[in-house]
Amino acid sequence: MNWTAIKAIYLFEMARFFRTLAQSFISPVLSTCLYFVVFGAAIGSRIQEVDGVSYGAFIVPGLIMLSVITQAISNASFGIYFPKFIGTIYELLSAPVSFLEIVAGYVGAAATKALFIGVIILITAFFFVDVNIAHPVAMIAFLVLTCLSFALLGFIIGIWAGNFEQLQLVPLLIVTPLVFLGGSFYSISMLPPIWQTISFFNPVVYLISGFRWSFFGAADVPIALSLCAIAGFTTLCLLIIWWIFKTGWRIRQ
C-alpha cells in the first residue's frame, strides 16, 4: 500500500478546500438558515408535530443529508474531473499507485469536506431549534457512511463526465429529486399509500429515515433495512469503480 501517495492526494485535495474555505462554508450555512426560516419558522409554525417531534427539529436530519449528499458528490466529481480536464491526470496514471489508493485519496478528501459541512449545518441547526440526538454513535456512523458512499458516486460521475455540463447533469437531474422526494422535509407516512409504495424504491428514503432514527429514535423504515441499503449502495459504487480501473474506461486508452 502506497500510504504516502494516499496522503499526498488527500492533502492536495484538502488544500483546495481550505483555499476557498469561506466559500465552502458560507454557502451551505446560508442555505440552511434559509431553509430554517422558510420551512421551520414560516411554514413549520402551521404544521403539527411530526412523529412527536416539532417540525423545525424534524427537518434537521433531512437538511443535513441534503447538503452532505450534494457536497460529497460535487466535491468528488470535481476532484477527479478537474485533473482529467486540465490534463494533470497523466501524473496519477504514471505514478506507482493502485486504483484503491487513488480512490482512497480523492474519495476520502471529498467525504471529509462533506462531513465538515454536515457538522457545520448541525451546529447551525442548534441556533434555530432544540435538537436531541438519541443515538450519537449511530448518527456519526450514518453521516460518515453517507459522505463516503456519495463521494464514491461522485467519483464515478467525475470519471464518466466528458464536459462540465455532464458533471452537473446527474446531480441535478437524478440526485436532487431523489433527495427532495426522499423525505427530507416530510415523513413518508404523511403520503397517500400509492406514493408511499413508490417512495420505497427511492434509495435515499432509507438513508434519511435511518439518519432521522439516530436523532429521534423513530423512522419510516426499520433501521436494519437502512443499514442494508447504504451498505448495498456503497458496494455497488465500489464495484463500478473497480471495473472502471480494471478496464481503464474513460481514463486509459
Binding site: 502506497n2 504516502t4 501517495a5 496522503k7 499526498a8 492526494i9 492533502l11 492536495f12 488544500a15 483546495r16 483555499r19 478537474f82 485533473p83 486540465i86 490534463g87 494533470t88 497523466y90 501524473e91 496519477l92 496514471l93 504514471s94 505514478a95 506507482p96 499507485v97 481503464g248 486509459r252 486508452q253
Partner: protein
C-alpha cells in the same frame, strides 16, 4: 550492465484500427541519453505513454530496471519520471505544493532539502510560492521538469521538452539534461529538432509511422553519414572527367559544369589540395568551390523519405 529499459516488440492499436506502434524493440543502457527523432504523429508520445502506464499496449512487453511495467508496475514506475509534451498544471496551485504532491504521489517521504535542491537547479526556488498561472511558459515547463524529478527518478522521459521554447531556454534545458546525466540519470527525449539530438544525445533513434527505423550511436551515425562533398564549379562545361582526374572518383553534374568530390572529414588527408592543383594542371578554370556536409537532418529526411516510398 543490464539495460535500464527493455522494450520488446511493443505494439499499440487503437479501437479505430490505427496502429500507433508496429512492433518497437529497443534497449537503453543506464546513464545514456537517447533522442527519439521523428515527425509529428510518428508514435513517439505513444511509445512514452505506454512505457509510463498512461496508455496500455496491445502486445509486447517493457521492463524498467528489470521490472515488468504491468506485473511490477510499482517498482517500474517508481524509477520513472515523465515530463509531458503539453503543459498540464493546476493553475491555482503553488509551485512548491505541486512539486511536493508529485513526490508524495510516487511514494517518497517528504524531503524539503531535496525539493529545494531540485527547484534551485531549475531556477524555480524564487518562484516556489507563486501560483502556477503567474509563471511564463518557460517557467511552467521547468515546473513540469521539477515535478518529474521530485521523486528522484533513474529514468527520465522528456517528451519534446523544447517544443515552442525560445533559443535561450533551449540551451538552458540542454544544460539541465547534461547535469542530470552527470547524476547518472538515464534520459530518453523525443524531439523533432535534429540539432537537439545532435547537441545532447549519445544515441539517436528514428521513428516514423510507428516503426523504429534506426537506432545508432550518434557519433558513428554522423561518421557513417558524415561525408563531405566538394563542388568544383567550372567556367566552361566539360564533355567528360579528364583522365588526369580519374583517380578522384569525381562525378560530373550541373550540365557538366560542376565536378563533385566526396571525402571524409576525419581522414588524415582529405586530398583537397592535391585535387585542386591537379584541376588547374589539367587546364580547367575554376569559377567557385563549395563544400557541403550531410547533417542528421539529411539522414533523417532520407530515412523517412525512403520509408514513405516503400509504403507506396
Amino acid at each position: 550492465m543490464a539495460p535500464i529499459l527493455n522494450i520488446s516488440d511493443l505494439r499499440k492499436s487503437y479501437a479505430d484500427g490505427f496502429e500507433a506502434l508496429k512492433g518497437v524493440s529497443l534497449q537503453i543502457e543506464t546513464g545514456e541519453i537517447i533522442a527519439l527523432l521523428g515527425p509529428n504523429g510518428a508514435g513517439k508520445t505513444t511509445l512514452i505513454s505506454t512505457i509510463c502506464g498512461i496508455t496500455t499496449a496491445t502486445s509486447g512487453s517493457v521492463t524498467v530496471g528489470g521490472h515488468d511495467i504491468l506485473s511490477e508496475y510499482r517498482a517500474a514506475r517508481a524509477m520513472i519520471g515523465l515530463v509531458p509534451q503539453e503543459i498540464n498544471l493546476e493553475p491555482f496551485e503553488k509551485v512548491i505544493n505541486t512539486v511536493r504532491f508529485s513526490r508524495g504521489l510516487f511514494g517518497k517521504p517528504s524531503d524539503d532539502a531535496a525539493l529545494e535542491r531540485i527547484l534551485r537547479q531549475l531556477s524555480l526556488w524564487d518562484k516556489r510560492d507563486n501560483q502556477i498561472r503567474e509563471l511564463s511558459g518557460g517557467m511552467k515547463r521547468r515546473v513540469l521538469i521539477a515535478k518529474a524529478l521530485s521523486h528522484e527518478p533513474r529514468l527520465l522521459f522528456l517528451d519534446e521538452p523544447t517544443a515552442g521554447v525560445d533559443v535561450e531556454l533551449r540551451k538552458d534545458m540542454w544544460e539541465i539534461v547534461e547535469g542530470l546525466k552527470a547524476d547518472g540519470v538515464t534520459i530518453v527525449l523525443t524531439t523533432h529538432y535534429i540539432e537537439e539530438a545532435e547537441a545532447i544525445a549519445d544515441r539517436v533513434g528514428v521513428i516514423a509511422k510507428g516503426e523504429l527505423l534506426l537506432v545508432e550511436d550518434k557519433a558513428s551515425l554522423m561518421a557513417r553519414m558524415g561525408q563531405k562533398q566538394l563542388d568544383v564549379q567550372l567556367s566552361e562545361p566539360l564533355d567528360e572527367v579528364p583522365a588526369a582526374l580519374a583517380k578522384y572518383n569525381l562525378t560530373l553534374c550541373d550540365n557538366n559544369r560542376t565536378l563533385t568530390y566526396s571525402y571524409d572529414t576525419r581522414a588524415e588527408r582529405t586530398g583537397i589540395t592535391k585535387l585542386l592543383s591537379d584541376v588547374s594542371a589539367a587546364g580547367l578554370v575554376l569559377r567557385d568551390v563549395v563544400t557541403r556536409q550531410s547533417s542528421l537532418e539529411d539522414i533523417f529526411v532520407g530515412l523517412v523519405h525512403d520509408e514513405e516510398e516503400a509504403a507506396l
